[in-house]
């Protein structure tokens, strides 16, 4: 049962990657706007280029062939791990991205950890408190957190913690200290969403009969909250955390620009500005890859927390047929 579940999830993940590649290919290559002119000009505003050079470039990148043929050729190369070369720098796309990715992943992972810790703590405190105003105050924070532009939070933190009080560096990648502000910035919207979901599922779980049973048997409030309620209520929050990783990584790209950090953000910015199509496509595919891998992990951890997940999906179908 377990093996079939895992195999199915992995097959789905591979399918999603293929489709992400295809979709980005069609957006980038088939939308109006001639990629070759842009490549030759290396940017948006530049003088017209010699037509012979355009033809040469077209042939080099295979853009003179019909779209389906181009697609098959590119897909074939992508399957062997070759996402093409950057037009602006001439370096292989995979190399460019894998160099920049660790910094971004470090930032994303730190932000996710902070978001889980603080979002979780907020939801716990809000549902644990018996005072109405404390509860309402705490529950009013997450909607605020998701409404504020992330890059603006970053700038405000820099303004306060770097310029007014020189506690943390405003720019760059140096060590743990340089990681604090961007990670906190990124954690705000994610933590807010996790808090929203967890608070909701905690309050429904706390109304379940088994909680009343536990209380009736003399378990303390803290014990009931942590051992009985949280274990069940954490599952939806876990799913949401997995789904948020994509947005978190995309936001990291913006936040890296705010804090002038090295990472995927700088690569992406440069690629979009130069209309460097292979690199942009690479970024999209790697973004989908991270998302797919994280959610695969969540799916694999899930049955350990809740064995019903593996058993359930195949049953209803059998009954329905």
């Amino acid at each position: 049962m377990m093996r079939r579940y895992i195999a199915k999830r992995i097959a789905q993940a591979v399918g999603v990657l293929w489709a992400a590649y295809t979709l980005s290919f069609f957006i980038l290559v088939l939308l109006p706007g001639d990629p070759v002119t842009a490549m030759a000009g290396q940017g948006m505003d530049s003088a017209p280029v010699d037509p012979a050079r355009l033809e040469a470039l077209r042939a080099e990148y295979g853009f003179d062939q019909p779209a389906p043929l181009q697609y098959l050729e590119y897909l074939g190369r992508a399957l062997t791990g070759d996402l093409g070369d950057s037009v602006a720098t001439g370096r292989p796309v995979t190399q460019l991205i894998t160099e920049a990715l660790p910094q971004t992943l470090l930032l994303t992972a730190s932000a996710l950890t902070l978001a889980l810790l603080f979002g979780g703590a907020l939801a716990m405190a809000a549902t644990y408190s018996e005072r109405r105003w404390v509860r309402q105050f705490l529950l009013s924070l997450p909607p605020l957190g998701v409404s504020v532009p992330t890059f603006w939070i970053g700038l405000m933190l820099v303004q306060f913690f770097s310029f007014r009080n020189a506690w943390f560096p405003a720019f760059g990648n140096d060590g743990v200290k340089g990681l604090v502000l961007p990670a906190v910035t990124l954690a705000v919207p994610t933590g807010a969403q996790i808090a929203l979901v967890l608070a909701k599922s905690l309050s429904t779980t706390l109304d379940e009969p088994y909680i009343a049973t536990a209380k009736a048997k003399g378990a303390g409030r803290v014990h009931v909250h942590l051992r009985h309620a949280l274990r069940n209520a954490a599952l939806p929050a876990l799913t949401v955390a997995g789904l948020l990783v994509g947005a978190l990584m995309a936001n990291a790209v913006v936040i890296e620009t705010v804090f002038s950090r090295n990472g995927l953000g700088r690569v992406t910015q440069a690629a979009v500005a130069a209309q460097d199509i292979p690199v942009v496509q690479g970024v999209v595919v790697y973004g989908a890859l991270v998302f797919v891998v994280v959610n695969l992990l969540v799916d694999l951890v899930y049955p350990l927390l809740d064995p019903r997940i593996v058993l359930a999906p195949t049953r209803p179908q059998a009954v329905a047929a």
Partner: protein
Amino acid sequence: MSGQLLETGTALGLPTTPDPAQSGSRGPDPARATRRTLAFFARRPGLVLSILIVLVVVVAAFAPGVFSSADPTRGVPEENFQAPSTAHWFGTDSLGRDLFARVVHGAQLSLRATLLAVSFAFVIGGILGLVAGFVGRWVDDVIMRFVDVVLSIPTLFLSLAVVTALGYGTTKVAIAVGVANIAGFARVMRAEVLRVRTALYVEAARGVGARWYTVLGRHVLPNSISPVLVLATLEFGTSILAVSSLSFLGYGAPPPAPEWGTLISDGRNYLANAWWLTALPGLAIAATVLATNRIARALESEVRQW
């Protein structure tokens, strides 16, 4: 099959189609309805404030002159970097331009871009979801697989891909954000259509021989659209954020234009000596998003009560 026929038969005898006119004015006494509406809003001061904020922003977007007579693009160089005061509510920037005027006029660009983005996603996503849910079978499979894929690519990356392909500009950024949001609309629309499609009144309409487009236009669409409209209000907030992120990154309108995201990225260079240049446009964005989210939540709980 026979069960379906039986249901259709009972449906023919009973008027099960909900009458929208009836649910609109339930009580015969209009004064009581007004009193109930007032009580509804009196218990929700946050909602009233949100509606006011959205109204102000909408007026700013379509008639910026109402709030500020200053020219957003022409500055007085001697008056640069003035802190917020009664003369310049939001202070002035490096060129001595009135920041309040720039934020007000920026509402025009940013709100229009957001409106375009949401409408784009609403129309395309809505049609995809409608077709998937109504036609079913392999069409449903193909469309929903596509939707699943789009959902697994971070929306910002998708938007960046579209910006790369189309180029810079307010409209192009709006389309980029719209494309990235199609999937969500398709998913909700399909779910609603599937729910409504099996309802008794739809089967009854089919049973009396209504053509497919009548069933779709008169019965399925009106009864499945409201959750999608709620999603549209919710997406409005996230789209304001997405549009301002892209214009913050510099993909929006070229420099003199005061898009909200651009204002923040301009102010970034003077973070150490002129806090208002970043802080206040950001607050304008946050207030607008917070207000639309609050309204969306109110609408959501209304829709769920039906």
